[in-house]
């Protein structure tokens, strides 16, 4: 097992060049020959969030500025997570041609997607910070916690992404199930509303929702200008550790059969 792990990382290191190429392919390609190019990656989610902020601030009769910061801080980790899970789900199927022709360590496909999305997300986070400052919001030193929140979220999302990447190869229906599940999960996650707002019979659903701590990890520094609770940090840490272990387990177990099922 130990030797296995070593050869796994050795191989991954040897393929860093391909990984880099795949990440840049994912980042550059979408916006080839568009006038604004990569800027679309930033404009798209920011516009979406602005519309949502406008609608829901009016609906909830909240102060637009405060609500916008509240919403943005929840949307950034959510968008990253949901994109990783859905796109990893298609990662092997979309690269079928390559996988069947040339040997590459399979993990680079979900990994390159997760890295590219992390870069996208970090940049839209920077854009968000700029917007907060422009609209006159205040930032505290607690913002420095965000990189740690990103690291925890990265491994959590990657772990789940590894599972979906393998699972969709064996059950193609899952691609569609995941899309619906992510939409449902969005409303069951306190992004549009505060954690305690969904009371009553469905409250336990939020208690079980593993993404909630990660939303809090981002929201505390950005919205409440304070460091997250230690208990939230520990929850996030445990969740990303378990997601990563389960993801790695599922992945390593099925890695070699993937090519036969594509």
């Amino acid at each position: 097992m130990k030797a296995n792990a070593r050869s796994f990382f050795r191989e991954l290191y040897d393929s860093r060049n391909v990984l880099l190429q795949l990440v840049s392919q994912q980042l550059i390609l979408r916006y080839r020959r568009t006038a604004l190019g990569y800027l679309w990656t930033l404009i798209n989610p920011l516009l979406m969030m602005s519309v949502m902020a406008l609608v829901f601030a009016t609906l909830f009769k909240a102060d637009l500025k405060t609500f916008a910061v509240f919403l943005f801080a929840g949307m950034i980790p959510w968008n990253f997570f949901s994109a990783v899970v859905t796109q990893c789900g298609a990662s092997f199927i979309n690269n079928e041609g390559l996988i069947k022709k040339i040997y590459l360590p399979k993990v680079i496909f979900p990994l390159s997607i997760t890295f590219a999305l992390l870069i996208d997300s970090a940049l839209s986070f920077l854009a968000l910070i700029t917007i907060i400052i422009v609209i006159g919001g205040s930032l505290s030193w607690a913002v420095l916690f965000i990189p740690i929140a990103y690291i925890l979220l990265f491994f959590f999302a990657l772990g789940i992404g590894l599972i979906t990447s393998v699972a969709t190869v064996f059950f193609r229906d899952l691609q569609h199930v995941i899309l619906i599940a992510m939409q449902g999960l969005f409303f069951l996650t306190p992004i549009l509303y505060k954690h305690d707002a969904l009371a009553g019979k469905v409250a336990w659903l939020i208690g079980l929702n593993p993404i909630v701590p990660f939303i809090e990890l981002f929201r505390a520094p950005l919205y409440q200008s304070s460091l997250p609770n230690v208990s939230i940090i520990v929850q996030g840490l445990l969740l990303s550790l378990s997601a990563m272990s389960i993801g790695a387990l599922v992945f390593l177990r099925h890695e070699k059969t993937i090519v036969f099922r594509l």
């Binding site: 040897d14 060049n17 391909v18 880099l20 190429q21 392919q25 390609l29 080839r32 041609g97 390559l98 996988i99 069947k100 022709k101 040339i102 040997y103 590459l104 064996f170 059950f171 193609r172 229906d173 899952l174 199930v177 070699k256 059969t257 090519v259 036969f260 099922r261």
Partner: protein
């Protein structure tokens, strides 16, 4: 010294009769065990053993579907063996399908780096061979154009030039002889021969028996996933063509 040792190699494919397995089907199967025959096993390569040493130029021949390409892909680690062992000493070059991993939106130059990375070249190596690849492919004018605007010939020329730019210890070829016009074809053939000459071991799959006879010093005949004959090219090709197993 390069060496390939294959021991009792078997590769199994699972063939699904009607459709890709669905979640619904999976759960349905849990409840009713009798509907298990949704797939059957197919042994593309069955119990194959051989050893290839330095200096060997091996041609693999056989009917379509005999398991030749599957065998080569197993040597290149695309397929994991279901049974048996493969041991490869030496750097093996996956020249199975040229142009695999080309991205149509990328320019020729970008594809050199993308596809080169996939073929296992480092960035430094790639920047060293880049000018030579472009010159050989005769694409100086179009190298910064997305390859989706290339003609088939241009595309093939670039893919071929890149795939053959490095000299691996073990060369694995699956029916690749570049397309292009007559003058390029002659050039490509010379480059291919140089590549084969420098390789420590060469294995090729081809239906061009004259080519096999001229390039190889050993021929393996496969049929239905098994090795049925292994020996001198003239002899084996002759027997294969007359359809006789025992001389």
């Amino acid at each position: 010294m390069s060496r390939i040792r294959v021991e009792n190699l078997s590769i199994k494919f699972r063939i699904y009769h009607d459709r890709s397995p669905s979640l619904k089907g999976y759960f349905a199967d849990i409840f009713k065990r009798q509907s298990r025959n949704a797939y059957s096993d197919f042994w593309a390569v069955k119990d194959v053993s051989f050893e290839i040493g330095a200096g060997d130029r091996v041609g693999v021949i056989g009917h379509n579907g005999a398991g030749k390409s599957t065998l080569l892909k197993a040597l290149c680690r695309v397929y994991e063996s279901s049974d048996g062992k493969i041991a490869v000493d030496g750097r093996i070059a996956p020249l199975l399908e040229i142009g695999a991993g080309f991205h149509p939106e990328f320019t020729g130059r970008e594809n050199i780096y993308l596809n080169g990375a996939i073929l296992g070249y480092s960035k430094q190596q790639l920047s060293l061979i880049e000018p030579e690849v472009i010159t050989f492919a005769e694409l100086e004018e179009f190298i910064d154009t997305p390859v989706k605007y290339y003609s088939t010939g241009m595309y093939m020329r670039l893919a071929f030039s890149l795939a053959t730019a490095m000299h691996p210890d073990i060369l694995v070829l699956d029916e690749i002889f570049a397309g292009g016009d007559a003058s390029f074809l002659a050039k490509a053939r010379a480059r291919m021969h140089a590549l084969i000459d420098k390789a420590n071991i060469m294995i090729m799959v081809s239906h061009d028996h004259e080519l096999v006879k001229s390039l190889c010093n050993r021929v393996i005949w496969m049929d239905h996933g098994k090795v049925v004959a292994d020996g001198a090219p003239e002899d084996i090709v002759e027997r294969y063509l007359t359809g006789k197993l025992n001389g």
